[in-house]
Amino acid sequence: MTMEAEQVREKVGSILDKYERNEGMLVSILQDTQAALGYLAREALLEVSAGLEVPLSQVYSVATFFRAFSLKPRGRHLIDVCLGTACHVRGAVGILDAIERETEIKQGDTSEDMRFSLETVNCVGACALGPIVIIDGKYEGEMKIDKVKPLLASYE
């Protein structure tokens, strides 16, 4: 999963060029970098800092501020469990527990086989479907604990 430094530099270089190395586009650049690499590699942040002439400390500050950014490699499938108020009162915590048991990872972590990354979000605006779990962008509404196992089994 981790890429060679050279490859990272190349990819980040072309993203920087796309935004004309405009430091005001830092967040967009980080978003594109994450999309291209799957996560924000250390090498990538160094490259963004050098390319935009923005201090590394500021790039790091922005990269760690937004939940959408991950500084660790992510698994093949990203599970987002909604813990917003509506999902919470409908038992989202139990769903999260079940997923943590099934995947053997805690929220914020990635399984060793790189199959799943597990994260939580606070409301995705689909409260009527709660509790809701989103896998790779696909919404799974009205989740139940006994639906967790078969659902995860469908993701290799």
Binding site: R42, L56, S57, S61, F65
Partner: protein
Amino acid sequence: MKGEASMVTLTIDGRTVQAEEGAMVLDVATENGIFIPTLCAHESVTPYGACRLCLVEVKTANGRERLVTSCLYPVEEGLEVTTDSEKIIRNRQTIIDLLLARCPESTVIQDMARKLGVEESSYPLEDHGNCILCALCVRACQEVVGVSAISLVNRGVEREMAIPFFDDSTACIACGSCSYICPTNAISMEDSDGIRTIRMPNNVTEFEMVPCKVCGNYWMPQKQVEYISKTTGIEPEFFDTCTNCRD
């Protein structure tokens, strides 16, 4: 700005004062001998409003009343500022109470709390060291030193002051400005045997120092010499002699 800055008239605790337009209420109050407590304000860096202790009540000329941080609130014509009402004292007590819960070991916070009438925190005590996340160190490093070696990272309850990746001190020139400016002594600096050690809440870094060729005392970090000669064009050899040994 063109010409002379225009002046505005306002009152602080009933006293009529004149101030330059654009000046912040905290600075104007201080100039006029009116004390407002604060931890995160410093004349050398831009105001930031982190500690919230400088809260005051303002009433604008059109009658709007609210609580604001005086370090970030510019004066305006006809503004009425109150710095010591019952409401402000109560609010400041809550703020220092929270800070005391965060940094129970900090003598600076303890003293400030006592002055504001809080003997002990009413919240569960936490163990965050002495850092109150006021970013004075970050602002000094960026605006005064110009290297931006540190920043506030993460978000919400996980917010911390750190160097990039918690381990990369490449940009740091070991000048120690962060340590000097820290209001709560969360960053310490120690020079011993030619090594400067800077202890931040999340990491400890050691820097080599250069000795004075006359007295032999180690007097300046190597990286600071390099940075100053790079930015000013002064030859590094200039720093071979310490300020005490120069003619």
